[in-house]
């Protein structure tokens, strides 16, 4: 295609997309000169250029539209019919442009006579009205109807262009010059295929980087480390940069819905207003393309089924105008899109009835389901809530198609609704399709990648832990975790691979469904470049693509959605009503984590209880001390500042974010790139880490996150300094037994208590504690209350009554601390009852126990 035509079409496409919104605005704000000018200008430009390029149909059409808009510019009243007509013309222009694209720059043959007539008629009508008004006549409506229209437009054709040409060039000049010359805001056009190619190449680069990273882990390659780290840094930056070029604000897509909603409201005789939020959220254009249709469908649904007509709304005491709110935002590496309406809401009764009718669920199953879970049944194949299929949203397409489309791009969709109040659909999609964060899992001798987005948490059944168990219902194994039962899909069984341990379960949630995938091992979290499946592999059902790992091997990427639909709930356990959630008392350990970024791709987090504050300080105030440590002048004192590995003080910014920890009157800063959020999360430590300073990895808000060990930093930053100065007595004389069913807390407590020199052992429940205490002597027992099996209260009662170590100093640590809880704790035999996160008091207790012990020795 001619380069010039291509450029022209690209430009026109953009202006037209903008115009759609403006024309709709025109209706609410009919005589805004600015709007009319804009519309006129676009029409005029298209007309002018298409004439030059020999695109006659396009020229004719825009010429007529321009005439009409010109009349509006001169003061004619914009009617609703006029807006409709302009919209129709714009549609025709868009169709034409599409055709020209497909035809390699040539205009298709065709006839726009009807539209020409309509436009001309409207123009004539207005002109006649103006003339009559000028001569003081009252206008009868019939008189406005055009009579001899055939001649007039033909005659006008010859003279109008010159006139309006002259006029618009004037308009153009009069417009304030946009600050186009600012080099920073200048843009270039580039083809999508070129960007895709660039993206692919960067993808390859990421793979090579991963590979080199792998090699550099070999301790013999010490010198390589530094170089690899900077390579990694550059590649990450490059990757982000290239990804950004493919990013587009969601604005254009959102704006198009203004028109959709307007047309829908008109044809449905409803009053609907669309509110947009977060239009500047940037999304990969490939993702944008793929979510357009599902979104359109859902908006149609909102307008057609969810929102009531104006009378009904008034009768219900609602505002006459129905609201649809479309909102986009970024959240932890994903994009969230919400579609919210203030309509009827989804009736649980109706969904239930329909689901029963279609045999999707049984009455017993329904009885155990929460209202929103029942509503999620609308995503099931073949389900359609509207009793009558209408032309607006019917089309035999249901929400299952929407769900499929979203899941195809690795996204999820959920629904929440309140009857009579409205419905919110929440779509979560990955930022980009090209690069995927995955868990590399081992099954037999093979490895598979499982997208991290679907995985809620990873449970290892290797070490006995009563927070979960494997139950059997009719011989089918199920994972019981915090009172919920999950069906299990065993990859080694499905794939016919030998099972090694089968003791690692990835708990996945997709829409309303939750299930576990059983693998032998989780090796790593890796960003992978998704490569499409060849035709020979496309019918294998359970994969979404393949990729090349750092070590050069090709591996398959599991598609959890497809896996679940192929091997999901075994029919004999589909009835979840028999699953009694009795062990609710094994309360979740909800902890607050500060999630932050500091180099690398993985977010990091520290436990909030040990953070005393988060501050921004002047970068200049941080300088390197004589021993190589960073020091910050901080309120008349010097505070050591550390950087997590892979991150350095960012001298290019004037301010540096610091997380400040305090510990026994000493403060320490941790320099970070930025604070993402503070998250309430039930932390399950998934992969324990061998790396110093990192406790392990956990899923926080659906994302794999490195949990950093503050005791390590404290130790490193404050060194033996505090130990030698502040610790009058040798803490290693005190032996402590920490009992907690949460691996996370065990690790946190163990490392922080050990970092002060105490001798620590851990047990994961009461039984294990007792057997450990039988084996050796401990001075202090630090025990959680809520534990499966023998809980903390039972444990201390048992010890006080029957031993072993009947007179041990015992402190209860719990997340529940009402007076009643405390009283029960003291009654059972604890010496102290503290909050889990109150480290200072826990250490005070240990210190007191130590002094007491040393005192005893002294006597």
């Amino acid at each position: 295609m001619d380069e010039m035509i291509k450029d022209f079409l690209g430009e026109v496409g953009e202006s037209l997309a903008d115009l759609d919104v403006q024309v709709v605005e025109l209706e609410t704000n009919p005589n805004s000169p600015e709007l009319i000018d804009n519309i006129f200008r676009v029409m005029h430009t298209i007309k002018g250029t298409s004439g030059f390029l020999g695109l006659d149909r396009l020229g004719q059409l825009t010429h007529r539209a321009e005439n009409l808009v010109d009349l509006y510019r001169q003061g004619a009243t914009v009617t609703s019919d006029g807006v409709t007509l302009i919209l129709q013309t714009l549609d025709a222009v868009k169709d034409l442009i599409d055709e020209i694209y497909k035809n390699e720059g040539k205009e298709p043959a065709g006839d726009d006579a009807i539209l020409h007539d309509l436009l001309d008629d409207m123009a004539t009508k207005i002109q006649r009205k103006q003339e009559l008004e000028a001569s003081g006549h009252e206008v009868a409506p019939e008189e406005l109807l055009p009579q001899a229209t055939a001649e007039e437009p033909a005659g006008k054709d010859n003279r109008t262009p010159d006139k309006s040409d002259a006029e618009t060039s004037a308009t153009k000049e009069a417009l304030p010059a946009k600050p186009r010359n600012d080099p920073a805001s200048q843009t270039v056009r580039t083809s999508v295929s070129q960007l895709n190619h660039l993206m692919d190449t960067v993808g390859e680069l990421v793979l090579v980087r991963n590979r080199i990273q792998q090699v550099s882990r070999d301790p013999q390659q010490g010198d390589l480390n530094e170089a690899v780290r900077s390579l990694s840094h550059i590649v990450t930056e490059l990757q982000e940069g290239v990804m950004k070029t493919r990013m587009q604000p969601i604005e254009a897509t959102f704006n198009a819905y203004t028109r959709t909603v307007r047309d829908l409201a008109k044809s449905l005789n409803k009053k609907i207003e669309l509110y947009l939020e977060g239009e500047d959220t940037e999304v990969d254009r490939q993702v944008l393309e793929l979510i357009k249709d599902p979104l359109t469908h859902m908006i149609r649904n909102c307008a057609d089924h969810a929102l009531e007509g104006p009378d009904e709304r008034l009768a219900l005491g609602k505002p006459e105008v129905g609201k649809i709110r479309l909102r986009a935002m970024h959240e932890g590496g994903h994009i969230i899109i919400q579609i919210q309406d203030d309509g009827k809401g989804i009736s649980v009764d109706r969904v239930s009835r329909k689901a029963l009718e279609k045999g999707l669920v049984t009455t017993e199953q329904l009885a155990t389901m929460t209202p929103n879970r029942i509503r999620s049944l609308i995503f099931h194949a073949g389900f359609s809530t509207a009793d009558n299929v209408t032309t607006i949203s019917g089309r035999g397409v249901g929400m299952d198609v929407v769900r499929n489309n979203i899941e195809k791009i690795g996204g999820t969709i959920a629904v929440e609704s309140q009857e009579g109040k409205g419905t919110t659909f929440t779509i979560k999609i990955p930022l980009t399709l090209a690069i995927l964060s995955t868990f590399i899992c081992g099954v037999g001798d093979e490895r598979f990648a499982i997208p991290q987005m679907a995985v809620q948490e990873i449970v290892s059944t290797r070490h006995e832990n009563n927070a979960y168990s494997i139950d059997h219902v009719k011989d089918t194994p199920l994972l019981r975790l915090r009172g919920t039962l999950y069906p299990l899909i065993d990859l080694s069984e499905i794939c016919g691979l030998p099972k090694k341990t089968g003791d690692t379960i990835l708990v996945c949630t997709i829409g309303a469904e939750s299930f576990g995938i059983v693998v032998d091992e989780v090796y790593d979290v890796q960003e992978i470049v998704v490569k499409p499946l060849s035709k020979a592999l496309r019918d294998t059902r359970i994969y979404s693509g393949n990729t090349i790992l750092g070590d050069g091997s090709a591996i398959m990427i599991i598609d959890p959605v497809a896996l679940f639909s192929a091997f999901g709930v075994p029919s004999n356990v589909a009835d979840r009503s028999q699953l009694d959630p009795t062990d609710d008392e094994v309360a979740k350990d909800i902890v607050k984590m500060v999630v932050f970024r500091a180099g690398g791709d993985t977010p990091k987090a520290v436990h909030l209880s040990i953070v005393s504050r988060i501050e921004k300080v002047d970068t200049q105030e941080i300088y390197k001390g004589h021993d190589g440590r960073f020091l910050l002048k901080y309120r008349d004192t010097l505070m050591p500042v550390l950087c997590p590995s892979g991150y350095d003080i960012d001298r290019s910014h004037s301010q540096q974010t610091i997380i400040v920890f305090t510990d026994e009157n000493r403060a320490l800063g941790l320099a970070v790139e930025k604070i993402e959020r503070i998250s309430d999360t039930p932390v399950m430590l998934d992969v324990t880490s061998e790396v110093e300073g990192i406790i392990g990895n956990a899923i926080i808000d659906g994302q794999a996150t490195e949990i950093h060990d503050v005791s390590y930093y404290l130790d490193k930053g404050l060194g033996g300094w505090y130990r030698s100065r502040d610790q009058r007595v040798d803490t290693s004389n005190l032996s402590v037994l920490v009992v907690d069913d949460s691996q996370f807390f065990r690790n946190v407590l163990q490392s922080s208590v050990a970092s002060r020199g105490y001798e620590v052992e851990t047990a994961m429940n009461g039984d294990e504690a007792i057997s450990k205490m039988r084996g050796r002597k401990f001075d202090v027992l630090v025990s959680d209350i809520e534990m499966p099996g023998m809980n903390g209260l039972d444990l201390i009662a048992h010890i006080r009554k029957k031993g072993p170590l009947q007179d041990i100093s015992a402190v209860a640590i719990s997340s529940h601390e009402t007076d009643e809880d405390k009283r029960r704790g003291y009654d059972a035999g604890f010496d102290e009852y503290l909050t889990k996160t109150d480290r200072d008091s826990i250490f005070e207790f240990l210190n007191a126990a130590l002094e007491k012990k040393m005192g005893k020795f002294a006597q």
Partner: protein, 158 residues
């Protein structure tokens, strides 16, 4: 250097063995590469013809067991002698695993013959013709039709 003066029509073939049979591919240009000894990652649940995937210079290639397509029984290819013939189909790369690649050879079209009736139906479907060489039959395969099983698989799915 000898210059062929005769203009007897002739063609070049990649000749390889599957079990005890000799096959040839006349579309030499379609063969992108002949490699060996690459690590194959098995793909569970794939159709029987698929042996797995491998990484050839950062490209993922689907590995096809040619013997499975042609219903030739026998042990799995010996990694020592087996070769992967890399071909393209609709922009996707496939590697056909064969037991041995003997040579790339130019043969005169004179020795060409039509397919004898006795050859198995699957072979007939995937072959063009045969060459008779020293009492041995060399079956010339039609690459496109050999790979047709891919379309068949999808149709079965529908």
């Amino acid at each position: 250097m000898t210059i062929e003066l005769t203009d007897t029509p002739k063609s070049t073939y990649v000749i390889f063995a599957l079990g005890e049979y000799q096959f040839g591919i006349d579309d030499v240009h379609a063969v992108r590469d002949i490699v060996r000894g690459l690590k194959i990652t098995p793909v569970p649940l794939a159709s029987k013809e698929v042996m797995g995937v491998l990484n050839l210079r950062s490209r993922i290639i689907t590995v096809i067991d040619a013997k499975k397509i042609l219903d030739i029984a026998g042990p799995p290819p010996d990694p020592e002698t087996a070769r992967h013939i890399v071909i393209e189909r609709d922009g996707e790369a496939y590697a056909l695993v064969v037991d041995r690649v003997s040579e790339v050879k130019t043969l005169p079209d004179e020795t060409l013959d039509t397919l004898p009736r006795s050859i198995p139906e699957v072979w007939r479907r995937c072959s063009k013709c045969i060459h008779k060489l020293d009492g041995q039959i060399l079956v010339i395969l039609d690459l496109a039709r050999l790979m047709d099983f891919l379309d068949k698989n999808t149709e079965d799915d529908l």
